[in-house]
Symmetry: none
Subunit: 412 residues, 2 copies
């Protein structure tokens, strides 16, 4: 079974958007053991989309088309697929109803051209998942198939995971099960991690019982993915579990999750287990710590809030930082303690630093002071990060959370 991916959108060719959808789909196909030899980007042009689809269908067993399912005149994917299938488009009454319902909930009238989204080629079926206003389509063409999914990432992902991959595996008659798990680490370089795992990688290369892949992922940490294929889910899970145990054993000082959790989720769970609440004071991270923490659902009882003290006076007046240099150990410590006091939390964390590009108070860009307050004891650390403003902010956030995590693990 092999599937090609076609991303539709002139904005992709013009470089206005980077096509991350194809990469994500490629990854899902690989994890499911489905080959993908070619991925194409094509603009919003009827003839060219048609040629690309027909050529892809000529080579591959299945084609996944992503994008061009919106309501506007330049959304051509539906029309072209109907041409390729040699059928008419008909209005799907269920989709029409669904669209009216969505716009009704928003308290808005539905613009007439949205009805274009309800058109389905005769013989095609609608993908069950429909998180937005664009229905996905399963379109049989002889013994092959075209899947059409929207270009909106979260809509696309739900459909690929819920329908496209299972349907491709069913068509492949694939009874093998692929499982994988991600170990996340922080505080060591990608090449350093690879070196530590070198023997393990050699052995897996020899035995073929599993694979290990790395991916540096900014604020998400460094991901180490362990993948295995077996006849049953239980067997694959067992191999993955054994291999993950080996990896965790080797990388223990840097592992913060053995099951793909974010640093935020890990820290929030540890705090809840210890019945502790958290207050945050942030300067250069500018709300990013709080913003990441609230993205983890179900912890509103743990997180009290954050004081984003961007102006120095807010540090002095609201958080009680002593008037003086605000990029310093002392300032970070006072911010962390101030967060506990002002927000009424048991535990505090704080970040202050220079995101750059220019230095500040004579302190070079990339310098970050962080602090955590646990059981009334405040500890600080200083780091120098490479990178641009955004990278420095991201590294600061995951590092201050890791700082707190290590103190909670140590029980201090």
């Amino acid at each position: 079974m092999n599937a090609e991916v076609v991303a539709v959108g002139t904005e992709l060719l013009l470089g206005q958007i980077v096509d991350t959808n194809s990469s994500w789909i490629g990854e899902q196909l690989a994890l499911a053991g489905i080959d993908s030899y070619l991925q194409v980007k094509v603009g919003d042009n009827r003839d060219r989309i048609r040629t690309v689809l027909e050529t892809a269908l000529g080579r591959a067993d299945a084609v996944i088309v992503c994008g061009g399912l919106g309501p506007t005149q330049d959304d051509l994917t539906r029309d072209v697929i109907a041409e390729v299938m040699g059928v008419e488009l008909v209005e799907d009454p269920e989709v029409v109803e669904r669209l009216h319902e969505i716009f009704g909930r928003r308290g808005r009238d539905m613009p007439a051209n949205n009805l274009r989204q309800a058109l389905v080629p005769v013989g095609a079926t609608r993908i069950a998942q429909m998180p937005g206003t664009a229905p996905g389509l399963v379109c049989p063409v002889g013994d092959k198939v075209i899947f059409a999914v929207p270009g909106v990432p979260w809509e696309m992902r739900e459909m690929i995971t819920g329908t496209v991959i299972p349907e491709l595996r069913r068509r492949a008659g694939d009874t093998g099960v692929i499982r994988s798990r991600v170990v996340r680490v922080w505080g060591h370089s990608e090449s350093g991690i690879a070196e530590l795992l070198a023997d393990r990688l050699d052995e897996l290369d020899r035995t073929g019982r599993a694979t290990i892949a790395f991916l540096a992922s900014g604020i998400e940490g460094l991901k180490v993915r362990v993948t295995a294929k077996a006849e049953t889910a239980e067997a694959a899970d067992a191999v993955v579990a054994e291999e993950v145990a080996e990896v965790v054993d080797i990388l223990r000082p840097w592992v913060f999750s053995d099951d793909d959790e974010t640093m935020e989720a890990v820290v929030l769970r540890m705090l809840r287990d210890r019945r502790l609440t958290l207050g945050v004071a942030e300067s250069l991270s500018g709300g990013l710590i709080a913003s990441r923490l609230v993205s983890v659902p179900g912890y509103s009882d743990v997180l009290r809030g954050s004081v984003v003290s961007y102006a120095s006076e807010v540090k002095f007046d609201v958080l009680g930082v002593p008037v003086g240099p605000v990029v310093s150990d002392d300032a970070a410590a006072a911010m962390s303690e101030g967060a506990c006091r002002v927000l009424g939390s048991d535990v505090g964390i704080a970040v202050t630093g220079v995101a750059g590009p220019a230095e500040q108070e004579g302190v070079p860009a990339g310098t970050v002071f962080l602090a955590s307050t646990v059981d009334g004891v405040t500890e600080t650390a200083m780091l120098r990060f490479p990178g641009d403003r955004e990278q420095i902010r991201q590294f600061s956030v995951i590092t201050v959370l890791d700082h707190l995590r290590k103190r909670l693990v140590a029980g201090v």
Copy 2:
């Protein structure tokens, strides 16, 4: 003149790396007025690379191949191009010398397989720029041409800018220039905007003097891109300016930038022009407003900070919200006024609401109350947004900033 882009690398298909090179090359081609109708990703497989190159050459005037020029066995681009040209590979003594020099500088012996990088198809010429160890190639095939550049982004970019684009323009005898500008709007649906612009789109279709494309971009707003091609940059700019003026005229109530600025940048500039400082109080957005605002460099004098009052007690104790329902007009108003008071700012904005998935205090998910305080006068608004937690948060952020923007425009 039209050029296709081929990115070579199995890791691209597997989603281990996102292909940002093609996007960047696509943008450079568009800016140079060179059409690019197709971009393809292909794995490190000799037959498939050859098929892709030959097919692309059949359709396009030029093909830019990116990647597969390294020293290892799976770097196949050189070999395949020689096959397509029907010629041998010969060692380029200048490249050999250059390689020895590079490794010498690094104080290392050159591994023998690096000499593969000195192989050049007979009839091809080396691209003058060579920032790394992989030489780029200009390979004539009949009256067409293949350019080969490395996959390492900075090496690729230097060669594309220095040789590939100028050579393509020379071959095109083309002095045409493409220019584009993005108008950003908020507060109306993509399909509604498309309907308002329908007449305009029809006219442009007929006259071909410019094109308009839409892109819903979450927290970035809805982008309306106007593009025109002309003999000179000045002429193209003039057409774009005229067409942007038409678009802005039609969409005026929803336009927040006629030159691709973010909502944050627009609001911060308006505040600075009026010598006003800003304080933020946020609940469901959880720091995202502040985080977006600090991403705009150079406005640390405008933004005082943000109180992320996630727990109700923080709203009561820190911001002075009256004890009672915290998802309400009253709470939003008190938060906005509290932000001004606590953070010492002239202007305040606040967001409270239910991100979901569950309702809160009997208020359904997606309900958002926002407020702004300008000149001591507080106004509130209630909205119901569709989508998941993340979308609801994003919509809240751009909407509260737009709320403030409109009040500043109105001079209230």
